[in-house]
Symmetry: C2
């Protein structure tokens, strides 16, 4: 009987579940709303239902599911499979998610931070498939990150490495939800872009500005509206400082950028590259590819499947 | 016949050479001035002389030298053993140091950045000997760094990782020799401390201030001189921002601090720890040990020996 694994991307909004071959091909997938606000018991029941459906799909295909990988947002103790806290799931506190799922499924389950699984997905089958070591930045409402070294997630001492969005860029900068000030996340996320725009808009000229979205700003910048253009270039520069730091610290072969802000790629990337050239050591900076992600919403499921394949004994 | 390796720490000032057992014990060592200004040919001749003397010492002890590791300052392509540039050796440009030494010695030679070898030395036999993964910061005239992951130097894609001293802390800050602005090195090195003092001293009150050294500032701070105390606390805070970034990005088990500034430990470490608590994610921050180095000047030689042992086939 052939084998397969199940990769789950549990986001604050969507729960995505895929049946994945040992080579990383998605054989089947499904998606439904996470409904995080319904509390952890209902979310776990929903997880189990989706995983079981994919397991039945595997049976139809004549495949045996050998393990499940789950990418979840928040602070995860990946070794123990515990969700310490998760901003998207307010009632998840030291939740032994791995244990709960293993008990119900009688299958090995592995839990990872969702930015780490997305990173591994892009390294295994996406933009970085030809390099072993890379850094993934997901620029969404916040800024997540994952580091892959020689084909494996760099977890650090407690599985919590990769929080590159919470690198300080401006010591006395904007207050971040993490408790720090001036984090990359406060400048290079969609929320940061809106804040920069509102900070820059002249008083009195702010008609309707308070309800502006990042998509509105991308559109205005595309149309050449000077303030929006400047905001996007500033965002690009902050991102460039962060990437320059990562190049000097880690000398990755590639930096892959995903998340919703990637859609505004051409509005910020030149400013980013220029800042990297000005700040990072030139030898590694000239050789570090900075590229957009290619797997999109599939990255997390594919990477969670990779975790399951790597960790299963 | 027993085996040993030779570890060399080639600094801008001193050339240190040791005969090291496979367990990491220093069996013999010697030191002389590097005399970098005499040019690369004389420095290489001096390297060869010191290595040969330690090889003879090995013979006396009935030991066979199987490899040589060299830590050298600057931009090093460790895979190829080439010194791309080195601030301390101005005439070293793309110097194939490994090839030159191997030709003369008929021994395998491995070249690494000197902060990386010091990091590995502290991890193998020093402050971090009980943890596999750590970050070493050497606060001297500049700020060097090395990352050790599961007992090996994290070299990155080109062997150039670990340049944590050139992380941007202040985007429009002091101009650094690397071409960037606001690098950690410009605030947490002995040179940075002197600059901060001179920036802070009131005009007119600066009698003799222009010739002040970092040691003078440590002494004044120890005696409670308010300006010196403040300068050392500011330095500690900047170091804390840098370490908080490293904790969020890499989640190391330990951060080890060496270099001459370590002598002023109690003048800055509380400010550093407070800044780390305020800025880094609390779960890893509470668990990351921040400790002084213990091997001192031996760290580089011991780590260079470890490189030789690890890379020799």
């Amino acid at each position: 009987m052939g084998q397969a694994v199940i990769g789950v991307d549990l986001g604050g909004t969507n729960l995505r579940t895929a049946l994945v071959s040992p080579a990383g091909d998605i054989l089947a997938k499904q998606k439904e709303a996470s409904l995080a606000s319904e509390g952890h018991q209902k979310v776990i029941a929903r997880l189990l239902k989706n995983i079981t459906q994919q397991r039945e799909k595997a049976k139809e295909l004549g495949l045996d599911v050998t393990a499940v990988g789950v990418g979840a947002p928040g602070v995860i103790l990946s070794g123990d499979g515990i969700v310490v806290t998760s901003p998207n799931f307010p009632d998840w506190n030291n939740l032994p998610l791995r244990q709960e799922l293993e008990k119900a499924l009688s299958l090995p389950v592995f839990i990872e931070n969702d930015a780490n699984t997305a990173a591994l997905g892009e390294q295994w089958r996406g933009a970085a498939r030809d390099v072993g070591s890379m850094i993934f930045l997901t620029l969404g409402t916040g800024v997540g990150g994952g580091i892959v070294y020689e084909g494996r997630i760099w977890g650090g001492a407690h599985g919590m490495a990769g929080e590159v969005g919470h690198m300080t860029l401006v010591p006395d900068g904007r207050k971040c939800g993490c408790g720090n000030k001036g984090c990359l996340e406060m400048y290079a996320s969609s929320r940061g872009i809106v804040m920069s725009y509102l900070d820059a808009v002249p008083p009195g000229a702010a008609d309707g500005a308070s309800s502006i979205t990042s998509a509105d700003i991308y559109r205005a910048a595309s149309e050449g509206e000077p303030l929006a253009v400047r905001v996007m270039q500033d965002m690009g520069r902050y991102l460039g400082i962060g990437i320059a730091n990562l190049i000097n610290i880690l000398n990755p072969a590639m930096v892959v950028i995903g998340g919703g802000v990637r859609d505004a790629w051409r509005l910020f990337i030149e400013a980013t590259r220029q800042e990297v050239r000005q700040r990072a050591f030139s030898y590694p900076a000239e050789r570090t590819q900075i590229v957009p992600s290619v797997l999109g919403d599939d990255a997390g499921m594919v990477g969670a499947a990779a975790v399951a394949l790597q960790k299963r004994r």
